[in-house]
């Protein structure tokens, strides 16, 4: 985030500016502590059923099933009169699916809030951007938007009143959507989403990012996706994969590093970059720095469940993206997306020269002990090995192999531990994992200052990260308590 602040200062001088290009999923990391009632059943956890091709209706989306016609009672009268004729089941189904693939819900729903009613705070160095209500409510949502106005917002970042949207909204990616898909998306939002008559608190940013018109300058210089044409459902697999990756899932928003102007560096497409404390890794086909050793099935498993055995698992923003979006794609689309990603030209990395998942092995050493129980008020800090033993070994096993079923994953052959960058390990320990897909729930408690399980200090986390990466991963990352403190305070 420090680089980001510098860039912003530079932008101030050059009178262009931006409020940052946070992925909309990035903030969803804040939604980790889901309310108890929203969590899965034990059956779902215990018996991971193979995911059959998820239909759009299985999405967390609230009301309408695609089979609903214009008679859906949730539809606003205004929209109803206008669009009932064209809202046939196929268009609705396509719209719902596009909304899922584009992961609109991640940003436009606050924790415990009504779907698409907005209100999620997206932290930026300039202040919080608050996502808006995009339900079809006429006064508080987008009920008054015509299809053309809707298209302007989604593909060009221009609001109905002509103001520019903050680029937290990934319209540079959505610019690549076909006319047909934008139309379906519009129809679905107008007819498939329950209108909610609440307005989230407006975004308040500090000057000069609070001047929305200044966004025009950034829009002028940034690179946008070129719109695709025709019927996206009929594309050949590679084109379909590209469309999914760029126009809908907006992978590059996080995985492509940004230039001085905070635009994605297209010559470093998917070569990895930091965001909100997490590091979206290099996912190019590089066999040393990327995911060039992954099979298409590995990547499909990862996108579908958030977990590819002996490779990686999704937490933080990617966990959210998997939960809300990629896990709900059809098998066909997942394969198209995976195949496309795996042929993206290899990009090397400054720090990583050996595949992240290749590091480490089970470390079986006897647990020699020389202490007797100490008094209950003994809060003296343990060393890394004992911190691991006391906080991690119960699930990840003393030797790092994880649980037999990999519910708690192995820590060796694990990209988070094998990365040269400790960022994701620090963030995972601070914030835990809370990822729900049809394959089951993946959970790890947070160890931050709000944890009910165990609150670890900056110094303890630094020692723990050092121990884990040294023992099971890429080597000593030289993490300090100050670094952990930075992650804790800023993200």
């Amino acid at each position: 985030m420090l680089d980001f602040r510098k860039t912003l200062s530079a932008l101030l001088v050059s009178s262009a500016l931006s409020v940052g290009a946070l992925s909309c999923e990035a903030i969803a990391a804040h939604a980790q502590n889901a309310a108890p009632a929203a969590t899965p059943t034990p059956e779902a956890t215990s018996t991971p059923a193979p995911t059959s091709a998820p239909v759009a209706t299985q999405a967390a989306q609230p009301v309408a099933s695609p089979s609903a016609t214009g008679t859906n009672p949730a539809v606003t009268p205004a929209a109803n009169g206008m669009a009932s004729a064209q809202s046939d089941a196929a268009v609705m189904e396509r719209g719902a699916y596009i909304a899922t693939a584009a992961d609109c819900v991640a940003c436009h729903t606050k924790l415990g809030g009504q779907p698409f009613a907005g209100g999620l705070k997206i932290a930026t160095p300039m202040g919080d951007v608050v996502s808006t209500n995009i339900t079809p409510d006429a006064d508080h949502g987008i009920g008054k938007y015509t299809e053309q106005e809707f298209e302007q917002a989604v593909r060009h970042g221009v609001r109905r009143d002509g103001a520019y949207l903050y680029p937290v909204m990934p319209y540079v990616s959505y610019a690549g959507m076909t006319d047909q898909d934008v139309h379906a998306l519009y129809v679905w939002f107008m007819h498939g989403v329950k209108p909610i008559a609440t307005a989230p608190k407006p975004t308040e940013l500090t000057f000069p990012a609070n001047v929305r018109s200044a966004m025009a300058a950034w829009n002028f210089v940034t690179t946008k996706e070129q719109p695709e044409s025709g019927d996206s459902a009929t594309y050949d697999p590679l084109r379909r994969g590209k469309y999914l990756a760029n126009a809908l899932e907006h992978c590059g928003t996080c995985h492509t590093p940004r230039n001085f102007m905070l635009s994605e560096k297209q010559d470093r497409y998917l070569a990895g970059g930091p965001l909100s404390g997490w590091y979206a890794p290099n996912i190019t086909s590089s066999k040393t720095a990327g995911i060039g050793n992954w099979s298409e099935d590995d990547l499909v498993a990862y996108l579908q469940t958030g977990h590819a055995k002996a490779r990686a698992q999704a937490a933080g923003p990617m966990g959210e993206a998997v939960e809300h979006s990629t896990s709900r794609l059809t098998d066909k689309d997942l394969h198209a997306l995976a195949a496309y990603i795996l042929q993206v030209p290899a990009m090397e990395d400054d720090l990583e020269h050996k595949p992240r998942e290749s590091f480490g092995h089970a470390v079986d050493l006897p647990d020699l002990r020389d202490k007797v129980p100490t008094r209950i008020d003994d809060l003296s800090e343990m060393d890394g090995a004992h911190l691991y033993d006391a906080n991690c070994a119960a699930c990840h096993s003393r030797n790092g192999a994880g649980t037999r079923d990999q519910y708690a994953p192995s820590l060796f052959n694990n990209t988070t531990v094998g990365s040269a960058r400790p960022d994701n390990l620090i963030m995972t320990i601070l914030h835990g994992v809370n990822r729900q897909t049809a394959a089951g729930h993946a959970g790890m408690p947070a160890f931050d200052g709000h944890s009910d399980v165990q609150r670890l200090s900056d110094s303890e986390i630094a020692k723990l990260v050092t121990y884990i990466m040294t023992t099971f991963g890429s080597g000593d990352p030289h993490v300090t308590a100050d670094q952990v403190s930075h992650f804790r305070k800023n993200f």
Binding site: P36, P42, V372, P373, I376, A394, D452
Partner: protein
């Protein structure tokens, strides 16, 4: 030594266990100022996990929790004891253990979260034994549910498995799937006896709940859940602190001050570990310091106005001590391998002896088949039998796979002669007397235990058991209760149906010490429900005032 600083809050709570912390949480969330005084220190789970692993005598549930000198708790269940001095014909049966530290004794419970049966509240009316409570099951039902949500309790669907306590809401979480060993035990009971095995309601996550993970069956609920899948009072402490309640650790309350009319409590005084005294004033006071420490504190506060102790005009403070004193046996099953110790410790119960007309003659009880890892016990047994080498390894495997442990919770009755008093000879470093308890098992409980032994012998026979190891005498269950007994008559009880002391309008007690009878289910959920009802009363009075 006295400190100038006077602390003050709307409500002052003594004790940070499940009772004190859940009241603090409710009140703080309603905007009421709260101070909680905890005699013990702040503590850490990771430390206890390591303490457990470094503990030689693993079945000693107090072992990982060596006390601080200014707030001692019983170091073990042995008689004589260094802290809780028991005497009388059944002294050893009342050798209770508990924990004095932030979050309280639920750091090492097994999460068994029973509601009492409606009949448990009316033992006198229905069976002519003991006493009636000054409240009915229906009064507590909403608070039972509130407590279940707060803790995160899993339990069976009442339509499939009715546990006898009517519910208006389903359990917050689905029942915990029972282990293979428990499934075998359940089948045996079903096929060969007129009884049944039910899912035990447990404050344990069968799905992620309250930002805590799903149970992974570490088999160590007692003495320490390593991952936080089981509820303990520290979560309510954290939640209360987040809501604005102030918790002061290492604050050993030793005096309860009253006004000149002796009708209202005005302040409490506590010592810090260096014996500096501090005074805390408030509008309401709640003593939630565990059955034994609560009675001790009321007695210690005796002065000219209340020569027998605070809230003790009836003379019943410290009397009527009860527990679920039970019977325990371990044996080697001659049937197929069970491998107990996979999954949580206590998941299943024979509940046929919780209620019946025979309660006019003998106490009720429930039976746990404890799902306890028996590898260590098996190893000790095999070595003592003289096995070595490869034969020893085969024996260990066989014994570990076939060891069965059964124990019972048997119902006690309130007897004023079973009494807690202040030790005249033993004092802690702050000069506060240790507790002494005289205990004679009521005949009602003795008969109940005899019946249990018969049932256990029958079960051992059904499982072709050998190598019976009966725990000598009676087995304390660490469910002490009754020391500030509830009732409608101020001359023979300490608190009313709302847990308000008869003597002092603004003094409440939230503890198992108010139980009028003790039923059979583990006491914690009822403690929590009563505490939440106290919070409800306090909210109404403070907000209306």
């Amino acid at each position: 030594m006295s400190s100038d600083q006077t602390l003050s809050a709307d409500v002052v709570i003594v004790g940070s266990g499940v009772a004190g912390s859940s009241i603090a949480n409710e009140l703080a969330r309603a905007g009421i100022s709260v101070i909680v005084l905890e005699a013990g220190p702040r503590v850490d789970r990771q430390h206890f996990v390591e303490n457990f692993r470094n503990l030689e005598n693993k079945p000693s549930y107090q072992g990982p929790f060596p006390a601080v000198p200014w707030a001692r708790h019983p170091p073990n269940q042995q008689t004589p004891n260094e802290y809780l001095h028991t005497s009388g014909p059944n002294a050893e049966a009342y050798q209770q253990v508990y924990l004095r530290m932030m979050g309280g004794t639920t750091w090492h419970w097994a999460g068994c979260a029973w509601r009492y049966l409606p009949s448990d509240f009316e033992l006198k009316t229905r069976y002519g034994q003991g006493r009636d409570w000054a409240l009915k099951y229906e009064d507590l039902e909403p608070f039972y549910y509130q407590a279940e949500v707060m803790m995160g309790v899993c339990g069976p669907d009442p339509a499939k498995e009715d546990l006898g306590s009517p519910r208006k809401q389903p359990y917050p979480m689905d029942a915990l799937p029972i282990s293979y060993a428990a499934q075998q035990f359940r089948s045996l009971i079903q096929e060969k006896t007129p009884w049944r095995v039910v899912h035990e309601p447990q404050a344990r996550n069968t799905r992620p709940y309250d930002s805590r993970p799903t149970c992974e069956g570490h088999n160590n609920c007692m003495p320490i859940c390593p991952i936080g899948a089981m509820y303990n009072g520290s979560y309510s402490v954290y939640h209360a602190e987040a809501a604005g309640a102030k918790f002061i650790p290492n604050a050993v309350v030793y005096k309860i001050e009253r006004d000149s009319a002796n009708k209202r409590v005005t302040a409490v005084q506590y010592y810090d570990p260096d014996k500096n005294s501090h005074r805390v004033t408030g509008k309401y006071f709640v003593i939630a310091a565990h059955c034994i420490e609560t009675a001790k504190l009321l007695l210690v506060s005796a002065d000219d106005k209340s020569p027998n102790g605070v809230a003790n005009s009836s003379g019943h403070v410290g009397r009527n001590m009860m527990d679920h004193t039970g019977v325990q046996v371990t044996f080697i099953s001659g049937d197929k391998a069970l491998w107990p110790g996979r999954g949580p410790l206590e998941t299943n119960v024979i509940d046929n002896f919780r209620d019946g007309d025979w309660r006019s003659e003998r106490g009720a009880y429930l039976v746990h088949m404890v799902d306890d890892n028996q590898v260590d016990l098996a190893t000790q047994l095999a070595i003592s039998k003289g096995y070595v080498g490869r034969d020893l390894e085969e024996q260990i495997r066989y014994l570990a796979a076939h060891t069965v442990r059964l124990f019972s919770h048997n119902e006690a009755l309130p007897d004023p002669e079973n009494r807690l008093t202040l030790s005249k000879t033993n004092k802690d470093i702050l000069g506060i007397p240790h507790p002494d308890v005289y205990y004679k098992l009521p005949e009602y409980t003795v008969k109940s235990c005899e019946h249990t032994r018969g049932v256990f012998r029958q079960l051992i026979g059904l499982m072709h058991g050998t190598d019976e190891q009966w725990t000598p005498g009676y087995f304390p269950q660490d469910h002490p209760s009754g020391s500030t007994i509830m009732g409608t008559d101020p001359t023979d009880s300490v608190v009313d149906g709302f847990c308000r002391t008869h003597d002092h309008d603004n003094l409440f007690i939230a503890s198992s010490s108010v139980f009028s009878t003790v039923g059979t289910g583990n006491i914690t959920l009822t403690v929590a429900a009563l505490a939440l009802r106290v919070a409800d009363t306090l909210k109404k009075e403070l907000i209306h005032a």
